[in-house]
């Protein structure tokens, strides 16, 4: 890699090892000879260490301190001869390599080098002074790192900081790898060498230990990061999809994955704190009425058709609310199950709210710096419209087409920004579309209402058919299946940009689903109220039965009667379990409908189009049926509403979250497969720039909406009297009061009572409102200040425009002059060098000037930057021939050798 055509500007920045440089630029003689004498031992010391271990590719990682000075001296002497030879040979080699190098210069590095350049002169200076200071001690063969004055110490520290900074940021420098590698190694070596030396005064061993630990820590962090990235599931799958279908489709899968993570946490919460304790420590199945299948259902309880409806044994299992006992504590752990049940129900919502809001906040933070995009429409289209992830030629063709259209569109917009002849038509069409869609929504709302009413009638009748029992679910699924495509067809009238169109579409389907959901909920509520009104009757019946059973005559009074078998005890309808079952059924049917839609709508269609195309009268692939596109809006909303169901239902059916985890897992694999096998990319591939936050917003809304009915039920509906953890209580939240009274010390109970006082709560709410208002106004004023600053910057830039171009021209001329002088210098140097040391020492002072160069618009000036290096290290040539060898000076060398490659054009 040493022969890569490297721009000289780059090399200027690189403090390449192997060559010692002096700091006095004007006088070639002195700088050539004197420093080399003084510096040579040092250079060889470093080189010697390296030479001692020829096979070593990297410096020894563990020992930050320098070798013992005495040994170093010996090595230095030993290696001086070697180095002489090696240096010369390397010089020759580099010459030949220069020749091989073709003269092309790549783009001059403008920014990064300019940063480097600033460092360079300072370092050189440091070196010079360092040498002067040290030269007497060196002459008297004193050890190197021992007597550093305060000043030097400070300077080295500063240099050390620079190097450390370089190590930290080298990866973000636009250099080729070989250069980065050299830089990194050199900087690391420097840091290692001096860190030990500097630490000498104040506990060297401690310092070394700290460095070691820091290194270990960095390594550990890196390993951990590696591990973390490995742990992200489906990363490859999603990236695969992203490269085929663009980021908008991938955003759905990323959302799905996120949802899966959230559900896993919820599942862990519910499973670990409610279901497992109940199964392990609760009263076993069959011991009490609520845990037993009633006598009437017993014979059919294991039939598949019954189980499929979540009746029978499933209904009387830990998956549903009714199974749990109202015992205050269970097992030898004295686990407060009702309390845990309640707290888990609350924390499911708490956690979900927190995680949704947190991810929304982090999304907005990432996209805070927008606003100026209006100024750069064309440039953005030009420079950033290509999605480099596209790896599919079809997608690429679509992208070409869409870019061309967007170019043309924006050109036309620009030309005819004043003419708005079509605006009336567009407006009319949009109003029409919205009208049609509202009609659809109303129609579907009425349909659901009608069906729900009918189902209430059916539920009173006996012997209803399968269709009549499942009518609501079927109608809702059908609506969910056919309305979105209808909306999409209508939305074609509106002619929005697909990203905006997607949002509209999402909003409309959201309204549809919301209507469905709430109709469903209202129907459910009616049902619950009906059951509640019946409860009193059943309660009396139960008491009556038990009373009769125990007090009936004809039984020997002396022997106590065996208790009534739990299956025979009459019991209430347990509306909580009924609600849970409804949600469970809805979730499962929703899942099945989704999968069947995918199978029929996507896979079978794709197969048909693919294989029937050979024997069909028109082109199926390009013509009517074609392949399906991935329906982003429908899938996202399906996911969101499904999650809403889970949130609502998980309080009444703890097992629901487990079912949902399974569902998400299967749908991840199934949909990934379906997308890759039978869908085509969208006709207008568009980026999902920040619609993820839109998804999150919808999710938050659904979360809030699903919180409402649950909260209402908890706060104002009495729990069933004979099932569930809260049976026997007036309201569900009484469990908290009970715990506070019985398990906490009395003063805590008093404190809670005091906190629950409305006199305290209302001021607290008021305070919160005030805080919100205050923060809101602060953020508003900040954003206003931001906008003003931006305006100011823009104005300043306008002013500077002219200045800049003028200045750029002058600096370019300046640097050209210095370049000429510089090369002259170098020629002299070259001559003198032969006699002294093989390590060349060339220097120039232009670097100082260069540092002030703004780095804009003077590409020519960069060519003749001098190379500066201060850490003399040479590498055994066998180790890494391409990156480890001393890199020769660029320009001076070439001009001196006379066989230089063609100069790059200025």
């Amino acid at each position: 890699m040493s022969r890569q055509p490297k721009s000289l500007g780059e090399e200027a920045g690189s403090g390449v090892r192997g060559q010692v440089r002096s700091g006095s630029p004007g006088t070639g003689d002195r700088s050539g000879r004197r420093p080399s004498k003084k510096r040579a031992p040092r250079a060889e010391g470093a080189a010697g260490r390296r030479g001692a271990q020829p096979g070593q590719k990297e410096r020894a990682g563990g020992s930050p301190g320098p070798g013992s000075p005495r040994r170093k001296q010996a090595e230095r002497r030993r290696h001086r001869e070697e180095l002489g030879e090696r240096g010369r040979s390397s010089a020759e080699r580099t010459c030949t390599e220069r020749r091989k190098k073709d003269g092309r210069t790549s783009l001059k590095e403008q920014r990064a080098p300019s940063k480097k350049e600033k460092e360079v002169p300072r370092k050189e200076e440091t070196w010079k002074r360092l040498k002067k200071h040290r030269s007497p001690s060196l002459a008297s063969s004193a050890s190197v790192g021992e007597s550093l004055s305060e000043e030097e110490l400070a300077r080295i520290l500063e240099q050390l900081e620079d190097k450390k900074k370089l190590i930290a940021t080298v990866r973000s420098k636009p250099w080729p790898m070989a250069k980065k590698l050299t830089e990194l190694r050199e900087a690391q070596e420097f840091v290692e060498k001096y860190e030990g030396a500097l630490g000498k005064g104040k506990g060297k061993r401690l310092y070394a230990y700290r460095m070691l630990m820091a290194k270990k820590w960095v390594k550990f962090k890196r390993d951990f990061d590696n591990f973390k990235t490995q742990c992200i599931p489906w990363e490859m799958k999603i990236k695969d999809i992203e490269s085929h279908f663009g980021s908008s489709v991938a955003s759905y899968f990323i959302f799905l994955r996120w949802m899966y993570g959230v559900n896993l946490v919820l599942f862990g919460l519910i499973f670990g704190l409610v279901i497992i304790p109940e199964v392990l420590m609760g009263v076993p199945y069959g011991s009490i009425p609520r845990k037993t299948v009633p006598r009437a259902e017993e014979e059919k309880a294991m039939d598949f058709s019954v189980l499929w409806d979540f009746e029978g044994y499933i209904k009387y299992s830990a998956l549903f609310y009714g199974y749990y006992n109202n015992q205050r504590t269970i097992g030898w752990l004295r686990y407060r199950l009702p309390m845990a049940y309640f707290m888990v129900g609350v924390s499911v919502f708490g956690y979900s709210l927190m995680i949704v809001i947190r991810s929304m906040a982090s999304n907005t933070q990432g996209s805070a710096s927008e606003g100026e995009s209006a100024n750069f429409t064309f440039s953005f289209k030009m420079f950033t419209s290509w999605d480099y992830l596209i790896g599919n030629s079809e997608t690429a063709d679509n992208k070409y087409a869409s870019i061309t259209t967007s170019f043309k569109e924006s050109i036309v917009d620009e030309q005819e920004s004043n003419k708005e002849e079509n605006i009336h038509l567009t407006r009319f069409l949009r109003v029409l579309a919205n009208f049609l869609i509202i009609c659809c929504l109303c129609g579907s709302g009425y349909l659901i209402y009608f069906v729900v009413k009918r189902s209430q009638e059916f539920s009173k009748m006996q012997n209803v058919s399968w269709y009549e029992r499942n009518e609501v679910e079927i109608v809702m699924s059908l609506l969910g299946m056919f309305c979105p495509p209808l909306f999409e067809t209508i939305a074609a009238l509106e002619n929005y940009h697909p990203r905006i169109g997607l949002k509209w579409q999402l909003g409309r389907i959201f309204a549809l689903f919301l209507g469905n959901l709430y109709t469903f909920l209202l129907a459910l509520m009616d049902d619950v109220h009906l059951k509640l009104s019946n409860e009193e009757k059943i309660k009396n019946l139960t008491h009556w039965t038990l009373f009769n059973y125990y007090n009936s005559s004809g039984w020997n009074e002396s022997v106590p009667r065996p208790p009534l078998h739990p299956a025979d005890v009459p019991r209430g309808s347990c509306w909580e379990t009924a609600v849970g079952i409804e949600f469970m059924r809805l979730t499962v049917s929703d899942m099945l409908v989704t999968y069947i839609t995918i199978l029929l709508g996507d896979f079978v269609r794709a197969c048909f189009v693919r294989f029937m195309n050979y024997c069909w009268c028109w082109d199926l692939e390009a013509g009517f049926p074609s392949y399906a596109e991935f329906d982003i809006s429908g899938n996202v909303l399906g996911l969101i509403f499904n999650q809403g169901m889970i949130w609502m239902g998980s309080f009444y059916a703890p097992g629901l979250v487990g079912v949902n985890v399974l569902r998400l897992l299967t749908s991840m694999y199934f949909q990934c497969w379906a997308v890759m096998s039978s869908n085509v990319p969208h006709e207008r591939v568009f980026k999902a720039s920040r619609s993820n936050n839109f998804y999150m917003g919808l999710l938050l809304l659904v979360l809030f909406l699903s919180l409402l009915p649950v909260a209402y039920a908890i706060m104002s509906l009495p729990p069933s009297f004979d099932c569930g953890p809260f049976s026997g209580k007036n309201r569900m939240y009484d469990v908290i009061q009970e715990t506070i009274e019985n398990d906490f010390p009395t003063f805590l109970g008093k404190i809670f009572a005091f906190l629950a006082n409305p006199g305290l709560i209302i001021p607290a709410i008021l305070l919160m409102f005030l805080a919100i208002y205050y923060l809101n106004s602060v953020s508003k004023s900040l954003s206003r200040a931001n906008a003003q600053l931006r305006k100011k910057i823009q104005a300043l830039r306008e002013v500077e425009k002219s200045h800049k171009s003028v200045k750029g021209r002058t600096t370019a001329r300046d640097s050209e002059d210095t370049a000429k002088g510089n090369s002259k210098n170098a020629t002299q140097l070259q001559l003198t060098k032969e006699g002294t040391t093989p390590h060349s020492a060339s220097q120039s002072q232009t670097a100082g000037k260069k540092a002030q160069d703004p780095g804009i618009s003077s590409s020519a000036s960069r060519i003749t930057l001098p190379v500066s290096q201060h850490l003399p290290v040479s590498r055994p040539p066998g180790v890494r021939p391409d990156s480890g060898q001393p890199r020769p000076q660029t320009h001076p060398w070439r001009s001196a050798s006379g066989k230089s490659a063609p100069r790059p054009p200025h």
């Binding site: 890699m1 890569q4 055509p5 990297e58 091989k100 190098k101 073709d102 790549s106 783009l107 001059k108 403008q110 920014r111 990866r171 973000s172 636009p174 080729p176 790898m177 990194l184 390594k219 890196r222 590696n226 990235t229 490269s243 980021s247 710096s369 927008e370 995009s373 100024n375 750069f376 064309f378 953005f380 030009m382 420079f383 950033t384 419209s385 290509w386 999605d387 480099y388 992830l389 596209i390 790896g391 030629s393 997608t395 690429a396 070409y400 087409a401 870019i403 061309t404 170019f407 043309k408 050109i411 030309q415 980026k687 425009k801 800049k804 804009i856 618009s857 590409s859 021939p881 391409d882």
Partner: protein
């Protein structure tokens, strides 16, 4: 990681992780990928065992590698020719593929990529690379004549790349002129008729989705 892991020494791997925005897995993957593609040694000076052409030879090359002493260096310095890089599925559809290869190549004729060049490429196009780095390389990719500025020819070439190879999607001359005028109007701050790196980065830094689209995943 078995065979592929043994080829890169631990130290080198750690250094590559320091120098790129890639994770260990990605580096090994890249290494593996390069090794598993038939190689054409470009420099005659670097005689590798793969002088016999074709995949067969390459397989032998891979098998030979672990035993040989200088295996690491060999695998690092063998170059993969431009055609092979261009046939990468990730780059196949990219209109800038030639430019990307040229920008990242360090060989004299700019026609082949070594493993390190390839790592550079992947690093720049990785998720975590800094926007500055990305925009710097984007500028070099768009600078078709390598002269350090984007002039009108570069821009028109860029437009042609973006609108695809098909005749029907090409812009007409007047449209092209209009477009380039608009772009220069927006981004050419110092009004010298070209866009230089700092102007380019100024524009790019305002773009909301440049960093998310300027990436390639192996």
């Amino acid at each position: 990681m078995g065979g592929s892991g043994s080829r890169l020494s631990k130290e080198l791997l750690a250094e590559y992780q320091d120098l790129t925005f890639l994770t260990k897995q990605e580096i090994l993957l890249a290494n593996c990928w390069l090794l598993l593609h038939p190689l054409h040694p470009s420099g005659s000076s670097r005689a590798s065992p793969s002088t016999v052409p074709g995949t067969q030879a390459h397989r032998r090359f891979c098998e030979l590698l672990p035993q040989e002493h200088r295996s690491t260096e060999e695998s690092l310095h063998t170059r993969v020719s431009l055609e092979q890089i261009l046939s990468l599925p990730e780059l196949k559809a990219n209109p800038f593929k030639e430019r990307i290869c040229r920008v990242f190549s360090t060989s004299p004729a700019r026609d082949s990529l070594s493993f390190e060049d390839f790592l550079d490429l992947l690093s720049v196009f990785s998720d975590t690379a800094t926007p500055d780095l990305k925009s710097h390389y984007a500028f070099r990719i768009f600078d078709f004549d390598d002269d350090g500025t984007l002039n009108r020819e570069d821009l028109s070439q860029l437009v042609n790349c973006l609108t695809g190879p098909g005749e029907d999607t090409q812009l007409s001359a007047s449209e092209m002129k209009q477009l380039i005028d608009n772009i220069l109007e927006e981004s050419d701050i110092d009004r010298d008729g070209t866009i230089n790196l700092s102007e380019f980065q100024h524009v790019i830094s305002r773009s909301p989705d440049f960093a998310s689209s300027f990436k390639i995943v192996l």
